[in-house]
C-alpha cells in the first residue's frame, strides 16, 4: 500500500512543485497572500479565493481528463455550461423547486454528453469535430432559452450553490472536492480507469479484447457533460443570473490546458484526475497572481501563456532527459530503455 502511495505522489510531484513555486513567488511579492482568516464561520484569504474561483475549470478538467484519456476531446463544455446555466435560471424563475431545477439541469448536461458520445462512438466522427457542433450550437441554444437577455434570479437556495459555504469552505470548493473524490474513486476503485486507458491507447485492440468500447466512450462524454452542468450551475449562481454569451466562454480551452499541465497526454491513455485538478488550480493561481500584481490587463494573457510554456517545457521528455536529476524515480530510465530497443 505504501508503494502505491509513493507512486501516486511521484505522479503528482511535478504539479505540486509548480504550484508551490507559483504560490511562493506570489507570496514573496504580496506578503499578505498566504493569510487565512475566519469570518462569519467561513475561511477568507487569497488561497481560498483561488480554490473558489477555480471551481468551474476544476470541474470541467475532471470530465475533460476522462474524455482525453479515451483519445478524445470535448470542445463543447463551455457552451454546455451556458446551456445549463440558462436552463437552471429559467426553471427557477418559472417557479420550479430548487431540487427539480438542479436535477433537470444535470439531466440536460447528461443529454449533451450523450449527444457528443453518440457522434463519437456510434457515428465515428472525430471528437474535435463532433464536439465542435455543440460548441457552436450550444451558445445559440442558451440564447434561445434566455431569450437573449441575462436571466437573473433571486432564489436563495440556488444562489447558495455559488456563494454559500459549508463548514469553513465556500460551497463551490466543497462541490468540486466531493465530486472530484467521487469520480476518482469511481474510476480507480472499479476497472473503469484501466478500460478507459486501454481504449485511449488502442481502441481496436480493446474492442477485440471484449471491452465495451462504445458504451464507455459515451460514458466519458456523459461525465464531461455532467461536469459542465455542475460548473454551469455554479457560474450562474455566482452572478445570480444566466449570461448566455459569456458563461463558460473559452473555459473549454482552460480545461484542456489544465489536463495538459496535469501531465495527461492528448494522445490518450494514462490519466490522473488529481493531477488535472492540480493543473486547474495552477492555472487559477496564475490568473489570481497576475491580477494581484497590478499589471495592465493586456499583459495578463501573455504572461499566463509564458508561464504555461515554461511548465510544458519542464514536462517535456527531452528536457527531463537533459536534466535527469529532476526526474521522479518512477520515470527514471524510461527513455534509455526505449533507446536500447
Amino acid at each position: 500500500m505504501t508503494a502505491t502511495v509513493k507512486t501516486y505522489l511521484g505522479r503528482l510531484l511535478p504539479q505540486l512543485i509548480v504550484l508551490a513555486a507559483i504560490v511562493f513567488a506570489i507570496s514573496m511579492v504580496f506578503p499578505g497572500f498566504l493569510n487565512l482568516q475566519i469570518q462569519n464561520g467561513r475561511l477568507y484569504g487569497s488561497l481560498i479565493d483561488i480554490l473558489n474561483r477555480g471551481a468551474p475549470v476544476v470541474l470541467l478538467a475532471i470530465g475533460m481528463t476522462v474524455v482525453i484519456a479515451t483519445k478524445g476531446i470535448d470542445l463543447s463544455v463551455g457552451a454546455v455550461m451556458a446551456i445549463c446555466g440558462a436552463v437552471a435560471a429559467s426553471l427557477i424563475t418559472s417557479g420550479h423547486s430548487l431540487l427539480e431545477t438542479l436535477f433537470a439541469t444535470l439531466a440536460v448536461g447528461i443529454l449533451c454528453g450523450i449527444w457528443n458520445g453518440c457522434l463519437v462512438a456510434v457515428l465515428d466522427i472525430q471528437p474535435i469535430i463532433a464536439t465542435l457542433v455543440l460548441m457552436v450550437a450550444g451558445r445559440g441554444i442558451a440564447q434561445l432559452i434566455t431569450e437573449g437577455a441575462i436571466l437573473t434570479f433571486n432564489d436563495a437556495g440556488l444562489i447558495f450553490v455559488g456563494s454559500g459555504s459549508f463548514g469553513w469552505l465556500p460551497m463551490p470548493v466543497v462541490i468540486w472536492l466531493v465530486f472530484g473524490v467521487l469520480v476518482a474513486l469511481l474510476v480507480r476503485q472499479t476497472a473503469l480507469g484501466m478500460l478507459i486507458e486501454a481504449i485511449g491507447v488502442n481502441r481496436q485492440a480493446s474492442t477485440l479484447s471484449g471491452v465495451l468500447t462504445p458504451v464507455l466512450l459515451v460514458a466519458a462524454y456523459v461525465l464531461s457533460g455532467l461536469c459542465a452542468a455542475i460548473a454551469g450551475i455554479i457560474a450562474a449562481a455566482d452572478i445570480k443570473g444566466a449570461d448566455a454569451n459569456n458563461a463558460g466562454l473559452w473555459l473549454e480551452l482552460d480545461a484542456i490546458l489544465a489536463v495538459v499541465v496535469g501531465g495527461t497526454s492528448l494522445l490518450g491513455g494514462r490519466f490522473s484526475i488529481a493531477a488535472s485538478v492540480l493543473g486547474a488550480i495552477i492555472i487559477q493561481a496564475i490568473n489570481t497572481g497576475i491580477l494581484l500584481s497590478g499589471f495592465p490587463p493586456e499583459f495578463n494573457l501573455i504572461i499566463k501563456a509564458a508561464i504555461i510554456v515554461f511548465i510544458l517545457v519542464l514536462q517535456s521528455p527531452r528536457f527531463r532527459g537533459a536534466f535527469t536529476f529532476l526526474q521522479i524515480p518512477r520515470a527514471a530510465g524510461k527513455p534509455t530503455e526505449r533507446e536500447a530497443k
Partner: protein, 505 residues
Amino acid sequence: MHGNSDNILSAIRIEKGFPGTKALDKVDFHLRRGEVHALLGENGAGKSTLIKCLTGAYRRDGGSILLDGAEVDPRDTFDAQRLGIGTVYQEVNLLPNLTVAENLFLGRQPRRFGMTDTRTMNRKARELLAEYELDLDVTRDLASYSVAIQQVVAIARAVDLSGKVLILDEPTASLDAHEVAMLFRIVRRLKARGLGIIFITHFLEQVYEISDRITVLRNGQLVGTRETAELDRRDLIAMMIGRELAAEIQSRHTPGNEGRLRYRFRNYGRRGRIDPFNLDVRAGEVVGIAGLLGSGRTETAEVLFGAYRADSGTAEIDGRAVELSSPRAAIRQKFGFCPEDRKTAGIVGDLSVRENIVLALQARRGWTRPISRAEQNRLADHYIRALDIRTADREKPIKLLSGGNQQKAILARWLATEPEFLILDEPTRGIDVGAHAEIVRLIESLREKGMSLIVISSEIEELVAYSTRVVVLRDRAHVAELSGDRITAHEIVEAIAAANQGRAS
C-alpha cells in the same frame, strides 16, 4: 590490420552499452565488395544496435569503422549516406503523399531558375528506375504503389545517394513470394555492381537463397561468421538460439484427431469478406488455415470471432445454437482471438504487461467487478513465468518488449480467460526463432489439454507440424480440406496451386 582490400566495410571491436546492459560487446563485422551478408540473431541480439552504430544513428562507445580501408566516423544517418552507407527499413521511410520522382530526388531536386525542374526530375527518375526493371508512372503518389514497389524505390534512392554499402533491414517482412523474388533479382544486380549488401531478416529460407555469408549475433556478442554454403540450417539455428532449443524445433510430430465434435459452423460467412463455409472443430484439435495473402484467412478468423458479424449461416457449440455477433459475444462463449496485426489490433502499447494480460478477463467481468491488484499481479507473474515472457518486470509498458514477447503477452491475455476456442492469426510472424519455437510448443500443449484451436499461418512447414486438419483458402472461399496423412507441405502447396489454376481458367 583488418585492412583487407576485399572488405568494403569493416567494423572492428564495436562496443555499445545502455544503462544496465551491454548491447554490443566488441563485435567484429566485415562486409566484402559484391556480397550479400546476412546479419542474424534473435530479437535483442544486437543486430539493430550494430546497424545503428554503422549508420551513425547511435554513437558507439568503442571500436572503429573502416570504409574502403579508411577510418570513418558517421555522426548521423545523413553523414553515413554521404560516406556511402545507405539503409532501407522494413517500414519504408519515404513520403507516401509525394510522387515517386519527388521521393527519389527529395532534397536534391534538379533546379532551373531556382525552381524545381519537374520535367528533368521525372525523366531522371524514369531512367533511374529503369535500372531496376521498373516502368512506373513516376508522377503518381508513392502511396498508390504496393509496398514492394515502394521498397524498390527506397532502395533506388539509397543506392543512388550512397552507392557503396546497402543495408536492408527486414525488407521482405510484408512482401509476398512473387515480390520477394523481384526484390532478390534487384539485390543480385546490385551485388554484381560491387555493392556490399547487409541483409537482416527472420526468414531463414531467404537467407539461404540470397546470402553469401552469414554473421550471427547473440546477446550482443559475435557468435561467428560463416560461408552460407557451408552452414546447414540446423547449425545456423543452433548458432542463433543455442543447442537445446534447436533440438526442440526439430522433433515435431503430426497429431491425430479423436476429440468430440464441439463447434459446428454451417454456411457461415459474410458478403464481401468471406464466402459461406462449413467448418467443424473438435476438442483437442488444431485446424490450420492455409492460403495466399488476401485469400480470406484473416476474414475467416474475424467472422468466427464476431469482429465482423456473419450475415449467413449458423454457429453451434455442443449442439446448441449461438450468436457470435460481436467479440464480446464470442468471448462469452469462451472464444479468444490473437489478431494478425499485433501493433494495431493486439497490444495496448502504453499499458503495462500486467494490464495487457488481464485486459480481456477484466473486460469479460465488467467494470464493476475489478480484478484486485493482488490477483492481477498473480496472473501476470504466473503467465510471465509460464510463457517465459522476457520483461524487466510486469509494470513495463508492453510496447518496449520485443515482438515475440508481445505475442506471448497477448496469448497470455487470452489464456487468462481460460478459453476453449482459440483463434491465432499468424502467431509466429515477425518474431525471433526462440519465441517461435516456444509458441509452437504452446499450441501443441494447449491442444493436448483439449482446447480447440484455429491457426492461420503463412509458414506451411509450421502448419504441417501442429495441425490435425488443414483448410485451404482461395479468393475468399474455403476450397479444400486436408487431414491425416495428406497434411504435408507438398499437398498444401498443391492445393493452393490447384486452386489458383482454377481461378486462371
